[in-house]
């Protein structure tokens, strides 16, 4: 058959049944859009995690309570009570490579200011925590070591707290309450960003860890110790020294395992990236299933179409079409149907990605890679699911086909 006539014939046939074409394409549109959106979300999450981990600060080592978990790492994990405030002090004072160490304790609490409430996380940290995180103060000031020593009832708040609890007004000097405990706001943290992860980071209250331990959390042990090392070159030696020091302090015999885990920022990043990669694959496979369902829809419609157009096929064969001409015609029809769905899916996927990114605040990347994959996958779906109906059409006998009602 004249090659340029193949797509023209296919498009004419599809246009003759516009409604069916659109509905069939819809299956593919949804499948492709799902794939693109899911991959976009997954990749957005991944890049966000990477950035967040990078923002942990420079040359940071994290010490978690509890043994290293099999095959992986525990971010913020440990429920074990093995790290004390004194451990943190010892790390800071006895290891020359370490410049700062902050024992961390987190609690989720409702803050009250006037008649407003806000549910947030309260972090107990040392006075040099902001240095470790390299997080500047926007106004007011950070609490001092003296405040820590006397468990002062002071707090430094993130931007989200200012927005939600103080409705944007200057909170310095105001008193907020946590279960009746009055805390005076003495500083506001610089905002971390607009994205979901950014605003999560801004939804924070910092208090001296002493205050947190004694008055807020009810805990006695640190959940993490954030450690800042002098420079990049000293990271490994610092890790080794921290391990030795803590083993000694915890009185561990040589045959006993560590009851804590020392991790660098890179290790944490790797774990987080791996987690988000697994999530991306998972999301994409779920979306892939819907693409498969769309493909089966195409096959169904093409089979119906072959049956309905048996006479047309008979006529084409009788005026000289070869089996392969008929086959090509139906294959191309199915591929065009799928490509149509693929393009629609890209548009829908882009819109969905954009909407989710802006409304839900979930980070999303519109990936061109996902786009190309989606288009080639939809063409492949068209070929694959169009093949059987096309083959069925090509095998027909001309006179039999013409006689069929």
């Amino acid at each position: 058959m004249k090659l340029s006539a193949v797509p023209i014939t296919a498009i004419k046939a599809l246009r003759r049944n516009t409604m069916r074409t659109l509905l069939t394409a819809l299956g593919i549109i949804i499948g492709v859009a799902a794939v693109i959106t899911m991959v976009g979300l997954g990749q957005g999450a991944k890049s966000e995690v990477e950035e967040q981990v990078n923002r942990l600060g420079q040359n940071v080592v994290l010490v978690f309570p509890g043994a290293r978990q099999l095959g992986g790492v525990s971010i913020g994990g440990g429920s074990a009570n093995t790290l004390t405030v004194e451990d943190a002090h010892a790390i800071r004072d006895e290891i020359p490579e370490v410049i700062a160490a902050s024992p961390e304790v987190r609690s989720q609490r409702v803050l009250v200011y006037g008649n407003r409430n806000w549910f947030t996380r309260i972090y107990g940290q040392s006075a040099d925590y902001l240095q470790i995180r390299q997080w500047p103060i926007e106004s007011g000031e950070m609490y001092t070591e003296e405040d820590v020593e006397r468990a002062a009832l002071v707090a430094v708040v993130g931007q989200t707290i200012v927005d939600e609890l103080f409705e944007g007004a200057d909170p310095i000097g105001e008193t907020i309450r946590v279960r009746g405990l009055p805390l005076t706001v003495i500083g506001v943290l610089a905002p971390k960003g607009m994205s979901l992860m950014g605003s999560v980071q801004d939804d924070i209250v910092l208090v001296p860890y002493t205050t947190a331990f004694q008055r807020i959390s009810g805990r006695s042990h640190a959940m993490v110790i954030n450690v800042q090392v002098f420079n990049q070159q000293s990271m490994e030696i610092a890790q080794a020294k921290i391990t030795d020091l803590l083993r000694e302090r915890h009185g561990l015999a040589p045959y006993q395992e560590d009851d804590f885990t020392v991790q660098t920022q890179e290790e944490v990043a790797q774990a987080a990236t791996e987690t988000s990669r697994v999530m991306t694959v998972l999301l994409a496979s779920i979306a892939g299933v819907s693409l498969l369902v769309g493909g089966i829809g195409i096959m169904n419609v093409m089979l119906v179409s072959v049956t309905e157009r048996t006479r047309e096929i008979g006529l084409r064969l009788s005026v000289g079409a070869r089996g392969r001409d008929v086959m090509l015609q139906f294959l191309i029809e199915s591929v065009i149907l799928c490509l149509l769905g693929g393009l629609g899916g890209i548009a829908l996927g882009a819109i969905a990605t954009e909407l989710i990114a802006s409304y839900a605040g979930w980070p999303a990347l519109f990936s061109t890679e996902a786009m190309f994959t989606a288009v080639s996958v939809s063409a492949a779906v068209g070929l694959f699911f169009g093949f059987y109906p096309a083959w069925k059409a090509a095998r027909l006998d001309p006179i039999e086909a013409l006689r069929r009602e």
Binding site: K2, V319, G320, A321
Partner: protein
């Protein structure tokens, strides 16, 4: 000497276009067997114009389908231009249907919801040596012009009368300039004036060398051929040469008469 030469070139001055040797066709639907053709022998020399007559159910359409390489005989040999059709593959048969034979179906078989012009283009699209779009358009338009439907190019079959659809079907059979025209009751839906015009066209093409086999129920239409074959119950009952009447002169007489009437 002459025979050797023809074997090499595949052409023979007196070679039969069609040579049927004891063709039978039996339809079996379930346990019932219908013997539609029960042994047909005949040859058609190039340049002949043959009418096939016979009552309904006598096997005319069955015979035409076999001749048109659309169907295969149950038994017997069919040589088309000396080639045994039964030895050919699907694709080779398709090529013959496309290039050698023009077929007019009894019930037209036009593509629905498709313009007359595009129906014309259909056989041209399947030519083994592809034509340019320009040539395709041109040939399609010419074919419609020949049957007097130049002004109906954009009409779909449902927008055409039965007679017009039949003329589109005839034009489609002629559009590839075949050597052999097989027409199953091509004037069955036409008024006598239009029938005469179509027969006049057939006679003109026949004079230019086209071999024609035409099924018809109407004795006076059959008279325009130079040979009449009458089928009965799947067998040839009569096969006779006749003096061909001229459709052109009858058409002229008709025109003269209608002019004198008005």
């Amino acid at each position: 000497m002459e025979a050797d030469f023809s074997a090499v070139t595949g052409q023979h001055f007196n070679m039969a276009v069609i040579d049927l040797q004891h063709i039978t066709r039996t339809y079996t639907s379930g346990s019932v067997a219908v013997h539609a053709l029960r042994g047909i022998d005949f040859t058609l020399q190039a340049g002949n114009f043959v009418s096939i007559m016979g009552s309904s159910g006598s096997g005319k359409s069955t015979l035409m389908n076999i001749l048109g390489c659309l169907d295969k005989p149950t038994e017997g040999r069919y040589l088309l231009n000396g080639t045994d059709i039964s030895a050919l593959k699907r694709d080779e048969l398709a090529a013959i249907r496309n290039e050698t034979i023009g077929f007019v179906f009894q019930n037209f078989h036009l593509l629905p919801r498709t313009s007359a012009l595009e129906n014309m283009e259909l056989p041209l699209l399947y030519k083994r040596d592809p034509l340019s779009w320009k040539e395709i358009r041109q040939k399609a338009a010419e074919a419609l012009e020949i049957v007097g439907l130049a002004d109906r190019m954009d009409h779909t079959p449902s927008q055409l009368s039965g007679g017009q659809q039949q003329r589109v079907a005839i034009a489609r059979a002629l559009v590839t300039s075949p050597k052999l025209l097989l027409a199953d009751e091509p004037t069955g839906n036409l008024d006598s004036r239009t029938s005469l015009e179509i027969i006049e066209l057939f006679q003109r093409l026949n004079d230019e060398g086209l071999s024609i086999l035409m099924v018809t129920q109407e004795p006076d239409i059959a008279q325009f051929a130079n040979r009449i074959i009458i089928l009965r119950d799947g067998l040839i009952q009569t096969d006779k040469q006749v003096q061909k009447r001229s459709a052109a002169s009858e058409l002229q007489t008709w025109k003269d008469e209608s002019e004198s009437l008005s």
